[in-house]
Amino acid sequence: MRSFTYERAKTAIEAAAAVARTPGAKFIAGGTNLLDLMKLQIETPTHLVDVNGLKLDTIEPTPEGGLRIGALVRNTDLAADERVRRDYAVLSRALLAGASGQLRNRATTAGNLLQRTRCPYFYDTAQPCNKRQPGSGCSALDGVSRQLGIVGVSDACIATNPSDMAVAMRALDAVVETVRPDGAGRTISIAEFHRLPGDTPHLETALEPGELITAVTLPPPVGGRQIYRKVRDRASYAFALVSVAAVIHQNGTGRVAVGGVAHKPWRIEAAEADLPRGSKVVTEQLLADAKPTHDNAFKRPLVERTIGAVISQARS
């Protein structure tokens, strides 16, 4: 870990301004991802702005009948919230499928959205990685890539977004609220929030320098059977090979977002009209442009099968 300076922000705007004016500054909330990366010198911030004191830790109803989740609401608390469990069960289930109890106690809603990939080459500073060191090359493309992305990938990067929570939020059409260093707020739809790698895999979100997430809002409840199915090599405490967040209505229509396959939660709304026709036809559309590696070609049938499992579960 390189030495760094540290301050506690008193307001969101102050925090945003502090990060914007200090080159190499970063926000810190739960720290469950950032601190690990700092120990390995994958992240080397010069200055940390602690946002834990910003009181952004409440869950409030919105005038439209949805929920506004403060950026600092811990994953444990969000998963346990009665309204979330009742009206947005897929989100609660996704949260509880992630990490461990200890990590969920610390990890925040905004931090979860910003967690970085688990590509093993990203984690080894002796190896080229365009995400860690732009222009150095991608070791994963022809390397060990079993866990990595199959769709929306580029020649520069095949990393995946490791979040479970974000996959559920994608299915729920969540909206990210932010504040910028100049004090102006804006909203970003979850669909637009995470970027594809393209030629700039080090740029992972739509956030501008210093822009701070203040909340995530969920639209009014959509009903349906809400299922989160996470497929992994062991029963707990592992990142998804493939995960599916689904809302399925009685008539078989619904929504489906897929995790573990791309640089962002993967959803194609147009494909969802075919949900009543089964997983095969939906998957064909979702993964029409897939470019799997030899190691992760199994993810294509696995997506189809996991969506199939979710449809079966919804019908049962």
Binding site: M1, R2, S3, K39, L40, Q41, R118, P120, Y121, Y123, D124, T125, A126, Q127, S139, D142, G143, V144, R146, V231, R232, D233, R234, A235, S236, Y237, A238, F239, L241, G278, S279, K280, F298, P301, L302, E304, R305, T306, I307, G308, A309, I311, S312
Partner: protein, 739 residues
């Protein structure tokens, strides 16, 4: 004490203390944080500085130069020692990789420098500032690609499985050709990491030319000799102390870079240095279980009698490294007149392959016992029956040599009964439970029992307290407790009157922990020392030694009874002895046996495999403490599930290293993966093994588990996977279509 004739009745047979499911005597220390592990021994020496090891960033090549200016100027840095500062150091015992010194990089993450600083963070930050100029060379990293050129190489794992390059009995090829039913398949097992909880860690301090290492090491005697050899100093100048060890699994049998670099760093900084290998270094800097490619051929007549059996294994290693002795158990497990065993070794430039829990048998059984399952199906025989049918009570290579005691058949029969094997449908892929395919699998377990010299010292004080001192280690196994039980039984005192001190090289040299030899040999050494102490007590108290009885804290003969403490009233009594062995292990084959039963569910759509229940029935001589032995077997079964379903060091075959070098990438089972586990020990003794009549059990527990899981997956799905681990990607292509 020399043990060269089978044991007769002795004080251990009273079983007042030995054989009882006693709680660990060190349990309170473990659960209250008062059992300090190597890195936490803050009080042993003042002024400890921190060391951080920098690993090589290439897999093979040379270091042209190292630039240290920035690192040296970094805050808190006390000293930096680089591999260019000295010629290549000697290697310790039984290691292939050179740990430090010289410009040659032999494998990825080989140590190239140690930075010593006032704090851990300072040492780590400075290490990242070292600029290394590498001259990389092409290397060989792909076992499958090198296998066809691999020469025959024999060896001894040093842990109980061994063999010449090739063993031939009868005419295998002829008999196999003539066999009515044949099986010929290849199986692969991946590289695996020990992934123990406690990383390799050492505090080193010099006092003049005297070096003390507070470390985490399974084999204190080996360690003392090895560090002396590596550093080029006399062994008598070295002390190792390793009272508590947070798991080893064979990864801490040897002196590794933590100990060497703590010592070098301490010398350079002129301060005691504490140092732990970071988690990423465990996979590539230390040792691992090497991958294997195994071919098994079995021929039998229609009645299921094996007439020909061949097991050939290929593994890879660094130059001077050993093959994985994966064919060892096949020499002994089943009958069959015509036999062929062979081991081949491919030179590779991956990190060093070496012993990991049950080296040889663990991966060997994962192949052999799947082949047996496949053969049983071809024969239309129940897999339990097929194994019973081919049991042998003699060494198949030398039929005059009997097993000292062998009850594999008893394990299989009792296990089948307890597991409900008779309810198993002989046809695979017949049982559904919701979205799960359900199947049951069986495998035999087999692991040799090793006899090795082991010494101990026992002291009796005026309060009647018996203290045992031996350099035996407790790697979480329960050594403290069974040694205390042995001394209590021998001296006729309660367990709370026994103190056990372990892991210090100033104590008599014991068997150490490895190859499941620790329990039987170390307690036999304590037995021998206690026999001497009893003689001293009897003499001091004026008894006739032939009929003195030690019980209830007193010595009794006829009508006379004297408190044991009396014998030390004029001063402590001390006795030291060792157990050493005659030819019983040569005249008789000593092995341990088990039957493993597993039920799995396989998700019909996603191919996820989840274990539903497990049973191990073990025949391993006298069980010294059924509670700690059960824990050992349960842990081994869990590790067997890991090997079957998820553990794999993923090789980057271009860059030559294990990519998933942390516990997020290298997955081992978590609680949610492990269902109800049962362990049954057959009630038996083996008088050939030692006066304790016990044998090893901790590695037996892993041998065969992986195959039982794989056989259960086949039974559940009808899909036979011969490449471990059995991850879902190897299954889904063969499962029924999704909706």
């Amino acid at each position: 004490m020399r043990f060269d004739t089978p044991a007769t009745t002795n004080p251990i047979d009273q079983l007042k203390v030995v054989g009882r499911p006693t709680d660990r005597i060190d349990g309170r220390h473990k659960t209250t944080g008062t059992a300090p592990y190597a890195y936490e021994r803050h009080d042993v020496v003042p002024d400890q500085a921190y060391g951080f090891v920098l690993g090589a960033a290439i897999a093979k090549g040379r270091i042209a130069a190292m630039l240290l200016d920035e690192a040296k100027a970094a805050p808190g840095v006390l000293a930096i020692v680089t591999t260019l500062d000295m010629p290549r150091l000697e290697r310790g015992m039984m290691n292939a990789a050179y740990l430090f010194g010289g410009p040659v990089v032999q494998h990825y993450h080989q140590a190239v420098a140690v930075v010593v600083a006032e704090t851990f963070e300072q040492a780590r930050a400075a290490a990242y500032l070292i600029r290394v100029d590498y001259e990389p060379e092409a290397g060989k990293f792909d076992l499958a690609a090198e296998a066809s050129n691999a020469p025959l190489v024999g060896d001894d794992s040093g842990e109980g499985s061994s063999g010449p390059p090739e063993v031939r009995v009868g005419d295998f090829e002829g008999a196999f050709k003539a066999a009515e039913v044949k099986h010929d398949e290849s199986y692969t097992t991946p590289d695996e990491s020990h992934a123990m909880m406690e990383p390799h860690a050492t505090i080193a301090a010099w006092d003049g030319d005297q070096l003390t290492l507070w470390t985490s090491n399974q084999m204190i005697g080996w360690g003392k000799r090895s560090i002396a050899k590596i550093l080029g100093i006399p062994a008598q100048n070295v002390r190792l102390d390793s009272p508590y060890i947070g798991g080893g699994f064979g990864g801490k049998l040897f002196i590794r870079a933590d100990a060497v670099l703590a010592a070098l760093g301490a010398k350079a900084a002129q301060r005691p240095v504490k140092l732990a290998l970071t988690r990423p270094l465990i996979a590539n800097n230390t040792t691992h279980r090497p991958a294997t490619i195994q071919r098994i051929r079995i021929g039998a007549n229609r009645d299921g009698i094996i007439t020909a059996i061949a097991h050939e294994s290929t593994s890879g290693n660094l130059a001077d490294g050993k093959p994985e002795t994966a064919v060892s158990q096949t020499r002994l497990l089943y009958a069959g007149a015509n036999r062929l065993m062979a081991m081949r070794l491919a030179p590779l430039d991956l990190p060093e392959g070496n012993a990991m829990r049950a080296p040889g048998e663990a991966p060997g059984m994962m192949a052999l016992e799947v082949a047996m399952d496949e053969m049983a199906e071809k024969l239309g025989l129940d897999p339990v029956q097929f194994r019973i049918l081919n049991d042998t009570q003699v060494d198949p290579e030398n039929p005059n040599r009997r097993f000292s005691h062998r009850d594999l058949v008893g394990c299989l029969r009792l296990g089948a009964e307890r597991f409900g094997w008779d309810k198993r449908n002989a046809q695979p892929a017949q049982v559904r439970d919701g979205h799960w395919f359900v199947g049951m699998g069986v495998a035999a377990g087999f692991r040799n029992n090793l006899l090795t010299k082991s010494a101990a010292r026992v002291r009796l004080d005026g309060q009647g307290v018996v203290a045992v001192e031996t350099d035996m280690t407790d790697i979480g196994t329960g050594s403290y407790t069974i040694i205390a039980q042995t001394a209590a039984e021998m001296m006729g005192v309660a367990l709370d009157k026994v103190v056990v001190r372990l892991g210090d090289s100033s104590f008599p040299v014991a068997a150490g922990s490895g190859g499941q030899w620790g329990a039987n040999n170390s307690t036999a050494g304590v037995y021998a020392a206690c026999v001497k102490l009893r003689e001293a007590v009897v003499q001091r108290l004026g008894f006739n030694s032939a009929d003195a009885v030690f019980a209830d804290g007193a010595v009794r003969s006829g009508n006379r009874s004297v408190a044991l403490a009396e014998a030390a009233s004029a001063g402590e009594l001390v006795a030291e002895d060792f157990i050493e062995y005659g030819d019983l292990a040569k005249t008789h084959q000593q092995s341990t046996f088990a039957a493993h039963f597993v039920e799995v569910g396989v998700d019909a759509l996603t191919g996820e495999v989840r274990v539903r229940r497990m049973l191990a029935v073990c025949a391993a001589g006298r069980i010294l403490n059924p509670k700690s032995a059960r824990s050992q077997v349960i842990g081994a079964m869990t590790m067997g599930v890991g090997a079957a379903l998820m553990e794999e060091l993923a090789v980057d075959k271009r860059r030559g290293f294990f990519v998933n070098h942390d516990l997020a990438g290298y997955e081992v089972p978590v609680h949610a993966d492990i269902p109800h586990q049962d362990v049954i020990f057959l009630d038996e003794v083996d008088p050939m093994s030692s006066p304790m009549k016990a044998k090893g059990v901790a590695e037996l527990g892993i041998c065969g588990v992986g195959a039982a899981v794989a056989n259960a997956v086949y039974h559940a799905t009808g899909i036979r996977v011969r490449d471990y681990p059995l991850t879902l990607d190897k299954l889904i292509g063969h499962l029924p279509e999704a909706v």
